[in-house]
C-alpha cells in the first residue's frame, strides 16, 4: 500500500486544538507562578481560535480525508462550533467556583481541552475506530475531571462509578462494533451502509451488533435503562464539572448517534427506531417521575436531563415510517434542534447553581433557591426563564424544541408516544414549577448577597436572555439545524 500524504486542511481545527493542548501543558509546567491564569486564558483562546478555524475551513460539501477515517461536513462543523461554545461558557462559569475550592489547577483546563478534542474526533469520525478513540478520549478526560476534587469522598466515588460504568459501556460499544464488522466486513460507515444495502451482511450478527451499539449510545446520552450513572455523577462531581458533563458531551453523543445509526445503519432504521422508542418512552417517564422526588437540585436536573434526552430520541426515531424516508430531515433536524436547545438551557441551569454557590458553601439543595426573588429579582427572573423553558412553556426556546420534536412524532403517526410525552411533560412541569415557587413564593433562608464574579453574571444574564430571545425568534437556529443536516443525509 502506498503512503499518500493526507489532506490535513479539513482537520485543521483538530490539529490546532491538539497542538495547543501540548503548548498549554508545557507552558503551565514552566511558568508555574502564572500557570493557572495562563492555562485558563490559553484554553479559552484555543476554543475561540478553533471556532475561527472551523468557520474558515467550512465547506458546503462533504469532504473525506485520512483514508476515509475523517469526514468534514456541515453537521460536524455546526456541532463542533456548538461544542466550543458550550465548553467555553462552561469553563467561564466554573472558574470562580474552582478557585473558591482551590482546585483550579492548570491541568483542569488541559483536560477540558483534551475532552473537547475527543468530542471533535467523535463528531468528525467516518469510521468505527476514530469514533471509539474520540469517545475514549472524551470519557477519560471526564472521569479525571469528576475526580478533580480528590479530597472529596463523594467526588471520587462518583468518578469511580462513572469510570466503571463508562468502561462497561465502552466495552459494549466495542463489542457491537466488532459484530458489525463481522457482519459487514468493514468499519467505515458508508461502506457498512453499502454492505447492508446490498444485503450482503449477516442479519443475525448485524442485529446483535446493533443492540450493543444502541446500548453504548444510550449510555453516553444517559437514557433509561443506562441512566444509573447520571444522577450520582451529576451530584458527586464538583458543580463546575457537572456543568461540563451536562452540556457538550450530549452533543457529541448526539453526533455519535447520527453517525452510527443514520450514516451506517440507516437501512435497518426501523429496527433501531423500535429500540429507541422503548428507551425514549422509558426515559421520559422515569426521568420526570424521579425528578419530582429529588431534594438536590443537581440530581433533579440530572433526572430532568434524562427526560430531555428522551425527547431528543423522539426526534431520532421518527425519521422512517414504513420505509418512507421523506420525514427523515424534518425529524433529525428537530432532534438536533432539541439537543442544542437543551445544551443552552442546561448551561444556564447549572450556571445558576454555580452563581449561588460560594467558598465553603454548595448551593445544591432546592431550599437554597428559596426567596431568590428577594435576594436578586434579576437572577430569579433568569432562573424563571430557564425553568419555564425546560418545562416547555412558550415564549422560551424549550417550547419550540418540544413543538418541533412532537411535530415530527405526530407526522410519523406515533400518537401514543406524543400523548405519553405530553402527559409526562405535565408531570414534569411540577418540579420546574416547584423551583419557581421556592424562588418567588418563599422567604429566603440565606440572605447573603450573590458574590459571583462579574463575567459570570454578565454571561448568565446573556444566557437567560438568549433562552427568551431564541424563543421569540427560533427560526434561525432551526434552519441552521436543518441546513447542517441537509448536506449530510
Amino acid at each position: 500500500m502506498n503512503f499518500v500524504v493526507p489532506d490535513f486542511y479539513p482537520a485543521a481545527a483538530e490539529i490546532f486544538v491538539a497542538v495547543m493542548a501540548l503548548v498549554i501543558m508545557l507552558a503551565s509546567t514552566f511558568a508555574r507562578s502564572i500557570a493557572r491564569n495562563l492555562s485558563y486564558f490559553l484554553t479559552q483562546a484555543t476554543l475561540i481560535g478553533a471556532a475561527f478555524i472551523t468557520i474558515y475551513t467550512m465547506e458546503g460539501e462533504v469532504v473525506h480525508t485520512f483514508n476515509n477515517l475523517f469526514i468534514s461536513d456541515l453537521m460536524g462543523d455546526f456541532l463542533k462550533l456548538m461544542i466550543y461554545f458550550s465548553t467555553a461558557i462552561a469553563l467561564l462559569y466554573g472558574r470562580g467556583y474552582l478557585a473558591d475550592r482551590k482546585i483550579d489547577k492548570p491541568e483542569y483546563y488541559l483536560l477540558a481541552l483534551l475532552m473537547t478534542l475527543g468530542m471533535m474526533v467523535m463528531v468528525t469520525a467516518n469510521h468505527m475506530l476514530p469514533m471509539y478513540i474520540g469517545l475514549e478520549m472524551m470519557s477519560l478526560a471526564l472521569y479525571t475531571m469528576v475526580a478533580f476534587d480528590r479530597d472529596s469522598a463523594r467526588s471520587t466515588e462518583a468518578a469511580m462509578k462513572y469510570f466503571v460504568l463508562g468502561a462497561l459501556a465502552s466495552g459494549l460499544l466495542l463489542y457491537g462494533m466488532s459484530m458489525v464488522y463481522g457482519a459487514t466486513g468493514t468499519l467505515e460507515f458508508s461502506a457498512i451502509a453499502q454492505a447492508i444495502y446490498n444485503q450482503s451482511a449477516n442479519q443475525t450478527v448485524l442485529m446483535f451488533g446493533l443492540v450493543f451499539l444502541v446500548a453504548g449510545i444510550c449510555f453516553k446520552l444517559g437514557v433509561v435503562p443506562f441512566h444509573m450513572w447520571v444522577p450520582d455523577v451529576y451530584q458527586g462531581a464538583p458543580t463546575a464539572v457537572t456543568l461540563v458533563i451536562a452540556t457538550a458531551p450530549k452533543l457529541a453523543a448526539f453526533a455519535m448517534a447520527v453517525r452510527l445509526l443514520i450514516w451506517a445503519l440507516f437501512d435497518i432504521a426501523e429496527e433501531w427506531q423500535l429500540m429507541l422508542m422503548l428507551v425514549a418512552a422509558a426515559s421520559i417517564v422515569l426521568g420526570n417521575l424521579a425528578a419530582i422526588a429529588q431534594q438536590n437540585i443537581k440530581r433533579m436536573l440530572a433526572y430532568s436531563g434524562i427526560s430531555h434526552m428522551g425527547f431528543v430520541l423522539l426526534g431520532l426515531l421518527a425519521g422512517v415510517v414504513e420505509g418512507d424516508r421523506h420525514f427523515a430531515l424534518n425529524a433529525y433536524s428537530s432532534a438536533m434542534f432539541y439537543a442544542v436547545s437543551y445544551v443552552i438551557m442546561s448551561l444556564a441551569s447549572f450556571g445558576m447553581v454555580i452563581l449561588l454557590s460560594r467558598a465553603g458553601f454548595e448551593a445544591e439543595n432546592l431550599d437554597d433557591f428559596k426567596g431568590l426573588n428577594k435576594r436578586s429579582s434579576w437572577y430569579a427572573l433568569m432562573m424563571l426563564f430557564v425553568m419555564f423553558s425546560m418545562a416547555g412553556v412558550p415564549f422560551f426556546i424549550g417550547f419550540f424544541a418540544k413543538l418541533s420534536v412532537l411535530q415530527a412524532v405526530v407526522a410519523a403517526g406515533y400518537f401514543w408516544l406524543a400523548v405519553l410525552a405530553v402527559v409526562m411533560s405535565v408531570i414534569g412541569a411540577f418540579y420546574y414549577l416547584r423551583v419557581v415557587k421556592l424562588m418567588y413564593f418563599d422567604e429566603p433562608v440565606d440572605a447573603s448577597p450573590i458574590s459571583a464574579p462579574a463575567e459570570v453574571r454578565v454571561m448568565l444574564s446573556a444566557n437567560g436572555i438568549a433562552i427568551a430571545a431564541l424563543g421569540l425568534a427560533p427560526q434561525m437556529l432551526m434552519s441552521v439545524c436543518a441546513y447542517a443536516l441537509l448536506g449530510s443525509l
Binding site: V393, L403, L406, V419, V422, L433, V436, K437
Partner: protein, 493 residues
C-alpha cells in the same frame, strides 16, 4: 381602515409597558410603578377603542388583519385579526386591566412593580389569544398567560396560595398540551398550515374529528371551567389577590369559551353535533349542581367562584344550541359576566381589605356603616342573579330562549338558574349587608373612598347600560355569529 397595526399595539403596549414597570425595580419606587402602570393600562385601553369604532358590523370577515411570517420552518405566521366574536373581548380585557390596576393601588405594598407588571403583561398576552389567527400563535399566548397568573396567585395570594397556584397551572397545562397534539395533527392534515382559517375549511373524517373535539374539550373545558374539571377554580379564586380574581373571572374564563367558538365548532362541526349531548349535559350539571354548591358556601369568594362556574355553564350551553339566540346570548353572557363577576370580586375585595376576612359569618349589618358600598353591592348582586334591566338578565334570557327552541326540557332545566342564582346571591347579600351590626369590627368599617367609588361606579354604569340597551354589543357580533352557524351547519365529512 387604518394602516396602524392596532392589534399589535393592543398586545404589545401592555407587555412592553409591563416590562418598563418591572424595570422600576424595588418598592422604593412604588409610587412611580403605580403611576406608570396606570398610564400603560389606560394607553392599552385607548389603542383598543378604534377597534370598536372602526369595526365594520356588516361583515363576518376578519378585520384589522396583520400577517407576517414568524417561523417559516413550520409555516407559523404572526397572523392577527378580530371578528365579531372576539373584538369585544379585547376591549373588555383592556378595560378590566385599568380597574385591576386601580384595585391594587393601596392594597399591594409588597413588590408593587412586579405585581403591576404581571397584570399588564398578562393583559397583553390575553389580547394576543383573542386576536391570534394562527394555531401556534394562539397556543403560545394561551400558555404564556399561565406564567403571570401563576406568579400572581403564588406571590400575593392567601394562605393556601402555593397549592392553588400549582393546581391551576398543572390543570391548564394538561389541557393545553393535549390541544397542542390536536393542533399538530391539523397541521399535518392541512398539508402544513397552522392557519385557523384554513382549518375551518379542512374536510376531516369523523373519527379524527371526535378525537380532536375531545382534545379541545379538555383544553377549553378546563379553562372554562366545566364540571367535573372545575375544581381548580375555587382554590385559585379564593387564594388569589383581588386583582387576580377579577382577571380570572372576567377574562381568563372567557378564553376557554372563546376557544369553543374559534376552534371546536368551526373546525370539527360534525363531532360538535355528535357530542353536543355530552357538552349540554355537562353544562346543565354545572348550572344546576354547582348552583347548589354555591348556595352552601361559607366563604364569599368561593360563593362567587362557584357562581362563575354556574354562569359559564350557561355559556357553553348556549354555544351548543346551534341557534343564533343561544350563541349570541352566550356571548352577551360572557361580556356581562366579565363586568358582574369582576365587580363582585372587587366588592369582596373592598370588604376584605378592611376586615381581612371573607367568611360570610364574620359580617352582618354592613349597610349601617357602609351605605354607599351597600348600594353598589346590591346592584351587582342583582345583576349576578339575573335581574331584568341588568346585563345579567340579557344573556341568560337569550340562552334560555335559545335552549327552549332547541328542546323545551333543556330550557326548563337551564331556567332553574334564575331561581338558584337569586337564591345564593341574595342570601349572601342579606347575611353580609343587612341585619344588625354583627360585631365591633363591622362597627368600625369605613365607607368606600373616592378611588373605590370610581371603579365601582364605572362598572355599575356598564352593567346598567348593557342591561338596558344591549344593541351596541349584539350588533357587533351578529354577522359573525350568523356566519359561524352557517358554517357549522355544513358537514365536513
Amino acid at each position: 381602515m387604518t394602516d396602524i397595526p392596532l392589534l399589535s399595539l393592543a398586545i404589545w403596549v401592555p407587555i412592553l409597558g409591563g416590562l418598563l414597570v418591572l424595570a422600576t425595580g424595588s418598592d422604593r419606587n412604588a409610587p412611580l410603578a403605580r403611576m406608570l402602570a396606570f398610564a400603560v393600562a389606560v394607553a392599552g385601553f385607548v389603542v383598543t377603542i378604534p377597534l370598536y369604532t372602526g369595526f365594520d358590523t356588516t361583515t363576518s370577515a376578519m378585520q384589522f388583519v396583520e400577517l407576517t411570517s414568524w417561523v417559516p420552518r413550520f409555516n407559523i405566521n404572526y397572523h392577527l385579526g378580530v371578528d365579531g366574536l372576539s373584538v369585544l373581548f379585547v376591549l373588555l380585557n383592556a378595560f378590566i386591566t385599568i380597574l385591576v390596576v386601580m384595585a391594587g393601588w393601596q392594597v399591594i405594598q409588597d413588590k408593587v412593580a412586579q405585581y403591576m407588571a404581571a397584570f399588564l403583561i398578562m393583559s397583553g398576552l390575553m389580547n394576543g389569544i383573542f386576536s391570534a389567527l394562527d394555531g401556534v400563535l394562539f397556543y403560545v399566548f394561551f400558555e404564556a398567560s399561565l406564567i403571570p397568573l401563576y406568579l400572581i396567585i403564588g406571590i400575593w395570594g392567601g394562605a393556601n396560595r402555593v397549592y392553588a397556584a400549582i393546581k391551576f397551572f398543572l390543570y391548564t397545562l394538561l389541557g393545553s398540551l393535549l390541544m397542542l397534539i390536536a393542533l399538530l395533527y391539523l397541521f399535518m392534515q392541512s398539508g402544513g398550515s397552522f392557519s385557523i382559517l384554513d382549518w375551518h375549511q379542512l374536510p376531516l373524517p369523523i373519527e379524527p374529528q371526535i378525537l380532536i373535539f375531545l382534545a379541545f374539550l379538555i383544553a377549553f373545558g378546563v379553562k372554562v371551567p366545566m364540571w367535573p374539571v372545575h375544581t381548580w377554580l375555587p382554590d385559585a379564586h379564593v387564594e388569589a389577590p383581588t386583582g387576580g380574581s377579577v382577571v380570572l373571572a372576567a377574562i381568563a374564563l372567557k378564553l376557554g369559551a372563546y376557544g369553543f367558538l374559534r376552534f371546536s365548532l368551526p373546525i370539527v362541526p360534525d363531532a360538535a353535533h355528535q357530542l353536543a349531548p355530552l357538552v349540554i349535559t355537562l353544562s346543565l350539571i354545572a348550572v344546576v349542581y354547582i348552583g347548589f354548591v354555591a348556595l352552601v358556601q361559607a366563604d364569599m369568594k368561593k360563593l362567587v367562584a362557584y357562581s362563575s362556574i354556574s354562569h359559564m355553564g350557561f355559556v357553553t350551553l348556549g354555544f351548543f344550541m346551534f341557534n343564533p339566540l343561544g350563541v349570541e346570548g352566550a356571548l352577551v353572557q360572557m361580556i356581562s359576566h366579565g363586568f358582574v363577576s369582576g365587580a363582585m370580586f372587587l366588592c369582596i375585595g373592598v370588604l376584605y381589605d378592611r376586615m381581612h376576612s371573607r367568611q360570610i359569618a364574620d359580617y352582618g349589618g354592613v349597610v349601617n356603616t357602609m351605605p354607599k358600598f351597600a348600594a353598589f353591592f346590591m346592584l351587582f348582586t342583582m345583576a349576578n342573579s339575573g335581574l331584568p334591566a341588568t346585563s345579567g338578565f340579557v344573556g341568560e334570557f337569550m340562552v334560555v330562549l335559545g335552549a327552549v327552541q332547541y328542546n323545551f326540557w333543556i330550557g326548563f332545566v337551564a331556567a332553574t338558574t334564575l331561581i338558584l342564582g337569586a337564591a345564593y346571591s341574595l342570601w349572601m347579600y342579606k347575611r353580609v349587608v343587612f341585619g344588625k351590626i354583627a360585631n365591633k369590627h363591622v362597627a368600625e368599617l369605613e365607607d368606600i373612598n373616592g378611588r373605590e367609588f370610581a371603579f365601582l361606579a364605572i362598572l355599575a354604569a356598564c352593567v346598567l347600560a348593557m342591561g338596558l340597551y344591549p344593541f351596541p354589543f349584539t350588533e357587533v357580533m351578529h354577522a359573525s355569529v350568523n356566519e359561524l352557524l352557517r358554517h357549522v351547519a355544513v358537514s365536513k365529512l
